[in-house]
Symmetry: C2
Subunit: 227 residues, 2 copies
DNA sequence: AAGTAATATGTATCTGAAACACATTAAATA
DNA sequence: TATTTAATGTGTTTCAGATACATATTACTT
């Protein structure tokens, strides 16, 4: 705990005392995304606030004064999913006065991509469950806006950086990969053009293995990573 | 001031009481950018903390519990420059434990583009001044990292959205516009290709006027906005 | 053995980006 | 007044990436 006074010299800070400035709580909210049955899913919890009775909300928590902001989002993810080696990226902060009915809370949103079929994934609580992103109409707090903002950022980044593989199992076919892209981008893609484009990026390695248990001609399997 | 208890149910929040969670201060920091003499400039203030003696820092302030996060950044900008109709965009939040030597402060960074030659622009304080971005080596706090992050975002957006015009006076030539792009992107651009590309965007209107007071053939003047 | 459904691959076309050259204009200079 | 200078203003060619599109192949199913 700091004992030194914070020094800020604006008009606003001069007319208020130090205690006032610790009347804002800081939280993180995680948009934890998964992919299953050709649909993008997000992990939600039933809101426990009366104001939001029946609505779901993102997974979040207040930030401990002794932990880094990023660390708080990793903690939420670890607590809720059991996973600690996942992709997590800060998107934006939301700080309207009235966004939390119980008090002033400024939250920072992160999005994360996890493999739903990963056997280490264990949900922390019965009230936590996967929801199809495209079917979500309304969420508690400003969480629908946060979700939409994170999805927009994800769509912008998904062709720029090799992050999508976090949604897939270690071995995957090009068909599966394309279906994930289609679920995220919300458009159909030409298979031949998709393959050329994705192959040029050098994000995957051919495992020289074939799919099994598919009711049709099996495709090649790939793993993430060059070489 | 909320009287209801904040309800959060994680392991971390259960083992701490409410007061602990108001021990994080929230601030905003503004990367206020201008353009002059073919160089990108940023508005800095001399740090008043002993730890950062001699170093400059970005313009920021603590957020008032009764103001929106975005409103706080507008207030900082208004207080420091006198301008209230400027482009301002949130970039990212920075929340490492030790980023502020006097206590725990989570800050949200914004960048802003202003016309240095705007006559309404008035700096609030003698210690506030413009610095050439490319010459900045070190800043107080983590402000160098914040600056770099904002510049990166600016470079990503400058060809996507018509924001660069905020750096220019109401009437400008294509040469001036290109020079601003070159200053931001840090590269030289081909004049003919630049013109074609920028014209296709429909961001500007031909004023049917010519430059005056230039020691060479005068160029056409444009203003921002289609039609 | 035939049918089905998916994999695998190649080519022609279009669009935007990049490279590049010359005529024009106004001011400065001789 | 003619010449020089330095910038404006425009067009074409080339290249790369994106898009549109068709046929042969393979494994399973019937």
């Amino acid at each position: 705990m700091p004992t030194t006074k914070l020094k800020f010299k604006s008009a606003a800070s001069e007319k208020r005392n130090r205690q006032d400035y610790f009347n804002i709580a800081v939280s993180v909210d995680c948009v934890i995304l998964g992919y299953e049955n050709k649909e993008l899913k997000v992990l939600l919890i039933e809101s426990d606030l009366e104001e939001f009775n029946g609505l779901h909300s993102l997974l979040g928590d207040l930030v401990d004064p002794h932990e880094d902001l990023d660390a708080a989002s990793y903690r939420v993810l670890k607590d809720r999913t059991g996973l600690d080696d996942v992709y997590l990226e800060q998107v934006q902060s939301f700080g309207n006065i009235q966004r939390h009915p119980s008090g002033r809370v400024v939250t920072t949103a992160y999005y994360s991509l996890v493999d739903i079929r990963n056997h280490r994934l264990q949900l922390s609580h019965k009230a936590v469950s996967w929801h199809t992103v495209s079917e979500i109409q309304k969420l508690a707090f400003d969480h629908k806006e946060i979700l939409d903002t994170c999805l927009k950022r994800l769509r912008e980044q998904v062709m720029e950086r090799p992050i999508i593989f976090n949604l897939l199992p270690p071995k995957f076919s090009l068909r599966e990969l394309q279906e994930v892209y289609e679920a995220i981008l919300g458009v159909g893609l030409d298979r031949r053009n998709f393959r050329k484009k994705i192959m040029l990026k050098d994000w995957m390695t051919d495992l020289k293995e074939m799919e099994t248990d598919v009711p049709h001609r099996p495709g090649r399997l790939y793993k993430v990573g060059a070489r």
